[in-house]
Symmetry: C2
Subunit: 461 residues, 2 copies
């Protein structure tokens, strides 16, 4: 019976492809740009559209809930004991469209060419949100959902999810689930549908080196005082050795070695270093010795200067010894590194390496731990199985170098792991002109999600 | 006869002190701020005032000459063979007065308190220009000037003398002289009237380290490329060793060691390192090992970062690997260091120390050699003698850490040495609120200048 229900679900999705595409276009025509206050009404319109469509999909309790900013759209199926509960997160807001003259079609005039759907939000994330919606609808139409579903769609992801943590904190019971699923990330590459099982964490600080009480004339005083820009350069240079390894004592103490299985899995993914280098425009790649690019960006911690400034930065020349020099630093962390511990180690390192004649102030500006879902977690297994069944190819296992704050909230406030299963491609121009989504992955993605609910239901209990 | 002429000149100056003070106030009431276009008319008014006053002083050929900017005021005495010719340079424009609320009296309402004259321009440089004028007038009134005098007063010194080089280049014959004299600098300290016989030169460059073609997301790419801010920090840190010495090969090759006499002369000048450190607000002084503060700032070359910038410098946090990193560098040079040679050595050093994975661009942005007038030059001897005769104290011999572009022009275009003999005190708030000038030094300065002309005339031929 479950098998045939899934087959009916997949048949339903295939039968309604044309209609689903038209509906996705309708959703994409709403210019829900959260960054621009002129589009405030459109953002709410997109939320309303989503709510109505969720009702049509059988989620009668779909509703907008107010936050200090744009509303969240929530809905849930009947919660039945004995089934796993899944919280599906996505966002209905989109990036601005500048430079609009670079678009081949209007960003809010969805257009299909060569089986690719072009529109702002096509892949990030309205297309994937709608994919989640139709997968659930197909189940609701044909049979009982194999999992309990809760939807949480926000309208502020593109402006930093500024009100989402507060919403989650205030609705922990409503949002409680066994697992979070997010479709807001790319697969590894075309033909490489993937489960993302790890994200790096973050630790941030701002440092300032203070010298004289004001900028000094370099003629009158140059040579008599430590130049804060020199001192800052010394500090920054002390943070890495020549091989690219972070020199801070204990920085790597909690870092797990990559397992042979993981290194092997990464190495099987196609990766063209030359193309990557050319795309970035650098004369050579550079990173921690002994690791591949994927290992460096997915599974090794880093310490980067994100910005620095000192003295006179305008046009021309001003012959001063600057009063101060500043830098913003962030680390990308891997599992088991604790953000505060890392910040304290960096602070100790900086204080130890401070040259004479200047003062150092350090401001810890935040952090979030890395997250990882074990490869043998049942949800990972279910996702693998769903991907393989729809795509007829083995699922890739990938990690991501960035951080997704909502995943940290789910982990810390709701105590649940997150499965990242996205169907966009890495080069589909999220945040850039001509954003697009391959329809093949839109349709197959919905089928994969529908299959995932089946697999999760089967595995449960 | 010359002796008694000088005595009459000095008596004249003493007799007219009250009147000279009132006239100086009149000059200072004109708000000749060159940086503010709203004061364009006042700048010209100050030039006109000076021209009229020079005529009254017996310089019938006083006139304004046009430049692309504010006019220069020029005048000259009859040129008699057998007498040395001296070009006196000064400026009649002043700095802006912000923050005006910090002034105890209106900046253009000259006020005397405790024998100190407060006004914008009192010491920098209108007061000293007027001092030069009355010294010459006293000679013209009493007897024939012992030297041929040429005056060159500009109205753009406070905005970088932007048109002066062109004027000098176009009027080389008119300005030809044996010696330039400038009263636009301080003495060493109250009670330490001084001859400045050396200025440091300058060499400037701007460098840029280029990495990826645009800022990269530090989550996606952090760890895979050299961060240009790290590379720039490495380069900057490589420029000095831990003792404060410049590490660039050959940087010190042309530098003369300080002579024992010079070191001895410097060491006899009172210098309170603790007060100096407190005034600058630094936790410790720092500079090239083995040299005193005066030696470091007057007679040793330096290399300073004047400004640097990279990546995100706004409020908050932006997790990027910056596309590029930039710095502005200037060296202060001492005699015999050639600016282009020094810039080329620095460039070679930077290229040699560039880390992998980034590109370096270097823009040489200018330079000027140091200048020094030998201590045994007759003009230095004459100035010493004039100071000692008026102040009844030995003249100090000082150098200055900065550069004065017009001195380089005089040296390079007019092939003449410059004597810097100023009567301001170092803490008389040039460029700051409550600028002032000790009247004692205003009066004695005029007497010293009048005496200097006598001594130069005596020594000549």
């Amino acid at each position: 019976m479950p098998k045939s229900a899934l087959n009916q679900v997949l048949s339903h999705l295939k039968a309604y492809r044309a209609q689903h595409l038209e509906e996705a276009k309708e959703f994409l025509r709403i210019p829900s740009i959260s960054a621009l206050s002129a589009h405030k009404g459109d953002v709410v319109r997109a939320a309303e559209w989503l709510k109505v469509r969720l009702e049509q999909a059988g989620f009668a309790n779909a509703r907008l809930e107010a936050t200090r900013g744009n509303p969240v759209v929530v809905a849930s199926s009947a919660i039945r004991l004995g089934k796993p509960t899944v919280l599906v997160y996505g966002h209905y807001d989109v990036q601005p469209v500048d430079p609009v003259e670079s678009w081949h079609h209007g960003p809010f005039e969805p257009t299909v060419e060569k089986n690719i759907l072009y529109a702002r939000g096509a892949s990030d994330d309205k297309g994937q949100v709608f994919m989640q919606l139709i997968a659930a609808e197909a189940w609701q139409t044909v049979a009982e959902l194999p999992v309990n579903l809760k939807f949480l769609f926000e309208g502020e992801e593109e402006i930093g999810s500024v009100n989402l943590s507060e919403y989650i904190r205030d609705h922990q019971a409503d949002l409680a689930a066994d697992l979070a699923v997010i479709s807001d990330t790319p697969m590894y590459d075309q033909g490489y549908p993937a489960v993302s099982y790890g994200l790096r964490g973050l630790a941030a600080m701002e440092i300032a080196v203070h010298g004289p009480y004001q900028d000094l004339h370099s003629g009158g005083f140059g040579g008599a005082v430590m130049n804060p820009a020199h001192a800052l350069a010394h500090l920054i240079d002390s943070l890495h050795d020549a091989t690219g390894r972070v020199s801070v004592a204990g920085f790597y103490d909690q870092v797990d070695d990559l397992t042979p299985e993981e290194r092997d899995a990464f190495s099987r993914l196609p990766f063209d270093e030359e193309a990557y280098q050319n795309e970035l425009g650098v004369p050579a790649l550079f990173g921690e010795e002994g690791y591949s690019v994927l290992e460096r960006t997915w599974a090794r911690p880093t310490l980067e200067v994100n910005g620095m400034w000192s003295g006179f930065t305008g046009e021309g020349q001003k012959t001063i010894v600057p009063a101060s020099a500043h830098a913003k630093l962030t680390c990308r962390l891997v599992p088991h590194q604790e953000p505060n511990d890392i910040l304290q180690r960096i602070e100790a390192h900086l204080r130890m390496h401070l040259p004479p004649g200047v003062r150092l102030t350090i401001n810890h500006t935040g952090g979030a731990p890395a997250s990882i879902t074990p490869l043998d977690h049942p949800a990972v297994k279910a996702a693998e199985s769903a991907i393989e069944s729809v795509y007829q190819t083995p699922a890739s296992h990938i990690r991501m170098g960035g951080s997704i704050p909502v995943v940290v909230d789910f982990q810390q406030m709701l105590n649940m792991p997150t499965l990242l299963i996205g169907f966009a491609l890495p080069n589909e121009n999220f945040h850039a002109p001509n954003e697009h989504f391959h329809l093949e992955n839109f349709y197959r993605g919905a089928e994969t999600i529908a299959t995932l609910w089946q697999k999760l239901g089967e595995n449960h209990g």
